[in-house]
């Protein structure tokens, strides 16, 4: 079964934000919803396209503090 395109609905979005202490302005809700769902979709597609990232983060994480030293 194909996953649903939308990660959040308006109701689940409002619950998730209120649970974290945020009360978005009514005029913001539609844009937060669209931008979140679009970003989740894009990141999911990228994740599927890059299944080869190693489990160990040793090689990658913290590179910026070790590079060129």
């Amino acid at each position: 079964m194909a996953p649903p395109e939308e990660f959040l609905t308006e109701a689940t979005l409002l619950n998730a934000l209120r649970a974290q202490g945020f009360t978005p302005a009514p005029e913001d809700v539609a844009e937060i919803l669209l931008r979140t769902n679009a970003l989740v979709k894009g990141l999911n597609e990228l994740m599927e396209a890059h299944p080869d990232l190693p489990e160990s983060l040793e090689k990658y994480d913290g590179w910026w503090t070790r590079s060129a030293r």
């Binding site: 998730a16 009360t23 990232l53 983060l57 590179w63």
Partner: protein, 476 residues
């Protein structure tokens, strides 16, 4: 030499003129204050100006010059800073009406170092709110591009670029997490330098994404950027990440013979860069070859994917940095800022973690590409300064993916990758397009090798005619 004819001179030339006694720091300050009164109501580059404090400093530094004391090569020059840096004499707003707690912030080390070197802090400069652009409603007025007020100066260091381009100060400081120095520099026709990550202290600077945030200069010449970097680089006990090899400027290059430059293939594609910006970049490449450089093509396959990675990383970090203020002062934030931060509160942790890992893979692609050449080069942005326009509401997910995250559309796609890799990069003007708007060429160096990058950029700049650009309506 009259000071009012020297407001567009480089900071180094101004300092030399003051050492030679042609004018004083106070006279240079007065010339800039007069221009700010004349031009800044329309330009909106400045947020706050410390006229009294800067005048006192200018008088004192002028007296030092008269007595033979010269603190540095920039003694007596006038600078302003993006309103992101905590200051002793001026409030720091982050370009926002929201009040964030800065009580734990020390005075910004970069500003203190410049003042100790004899430069004079004039004021704070307009910015996208908390450097998290694009801001829709600027609380201190929308900054404009001095080349055309209907165009954006770019951001987030909008005022930093506009003020230098319009001849309102000798040089400025900006902050760059994904291109916030280089994009406005390109849009406004000035030089913008993002140093190697951790080369310059971020102590006292409001963060956006600490593992990518950099502070750097915006100047009228590459030599000025090098001079500023020399003064602000180096270890700062208040920012332990600065424990790095020292910055070593390279001697002036007569030509670029023996230098191998990698032209970034992905940035030269029509979906990423407009035909006119491509054409100006290709002309710049021919000039580099004319100077003796060997130019080869290099690929960074993941380059365009910052369109998803950057918002995931920045929004999830920003919402934590601003959690309390966002909860209690929601309406004080600009709509774009608060929406993007709340997107960060909703992203699944596994996707943010994935974004971080893919970012590291992109960074390795960049360091691999650099391993085979001396520098990478390419356009600083996809097109010249865009028109200032109201954002139409998004219709659906596909519309967001096209207009906000689209390849070649998402802001900073030409610059962000090099923040991901932590390598130094600089934007240098490379011409003016048919809309009379400047375009920038970006040089990218290896970690902690700003010296070679600046030497090559200087050689390129020296081959331009004129060597620096002045917006026609600000030339008087």
């Amino acid at each position: 030499m009259r000071v009012d004819q020297h407001v567009f001179a480089s900071a180094l030339e101004q300092a030399a003129a003051m050492r030679a006694g042609h004018y004083t720091p106070a006279e240079l300050l007065d010339a800039y204050l007069a221009r700010i009164r004349r031009y800044d109501e329309g330009l909106r580059a400045f947020i706050n100006i410390d006229e009294e404090g800067s005048r006192a400093r200018a008088e004192a530094l002028g007296a030092e010059l008269k007595s033979g004391r010269v603190r540095s090569r920039l003694h007596g020059t006038i600078f302003a800073v993006k309103d992101q840096m905590n200051l002793e004499r001026l409030p720091t707003t982050g370009g926002s009406r929201a009040k964030v707690d800065l009580s734990l912030y020390s005075e910004a080390t970069v500003v203190r170092r410049l003042e100790e070197a004899g430069a004079i802090l004039l004021g704070t400069l307009n910015t996208h709110e908390f450097h998290n652009g694009p801001t829709r409603h600027f609380p201190f007025g929308r900054p404009r591009n001095p080349w055309n007020h209907s165009r954006s100066p770019g951001g987030s260091s909008s005022g930093s670029a506009a003020a230098v381009a319009a001849g309102l100060c000798s040089f400025s400081l900006g902050g760059d997490t994904g291109g916030s120095i280089r994009v406005p520099a390109a849009n406004c026709g000035v030089v913008g330098l993002k140093p190697t990550w951790s080369r310059v202290s971020r102590a006292g600077v409001i963060p956006l994404l600490p593992s990518m945030d950099c502070v750097g200069p915006l100047t009228r010449t590459v030599a000025d950027s090098e001079a500023v970097l020399e003064l602000v680089a180096g270890f700062d006990p208040a920012d332990k990440t600065t424990n790095n090899p020292p910055f070593e400027p390279r001697p002036q290059l007569e030509n670029l013979r023996g230098l191998r430059l990698g032209l970034i293939d992905e940035l030269m594609r029509p979906e990423m860069t407009s035909p006119e910006s491509l054409s100006l970049t290709q002309a710049a490449i021919r000039e580099l070859e004319g100077l003796g450089a060997e130019v080869v093509t290099r690929s960074i396959p993941l380059l365009a994917e910052t369109r998803y990675l950057m918002p995931a990383l920045v929004s999830s970090e920003a919402v934590n940095n601003h959690r309390q203020a966002l909860q209690s002062q929601y309406g004080s934030y600009d709509q774009n800022t608060r929406v993007s931060m709340l997107v960060g509160a909703l992203l699944p942790a596994n996707l943010v973690r994935f974004a971080d890992r893919l970012r590291s893979k992109l960074a390795l692609q960049i360091t691999d590409a650099l391993a085979e050449v001396d520098l990478l080069v390419g356009p600083s942005s996809g097109r010249s300064a865009p028109a200032v326009a109201e954002l139409e509401p998004f219709k659906d997910i596909a519309d967001v993916q096209q207009r906000l995250y689209g390849v070649g559309i998402a802001s900073g796609q030409h610059t962000r990758p090099f923040n991901f890799a932590g390598v130094p990069a600089i934007s240098v003007p490379c011409g003016v397009d048919s809309n009379h708007l400047p375009v920038g060429l970006q040089f990218v160096g290896k970690h902690f090798d700003e010296g070679l990058m600046l030497a090559a950029a200087k050689a390129f700049e020296g081959a331009q005619s004129p060597t620096s650009l002045v917006p026609p309506s600000y030339a008087e």
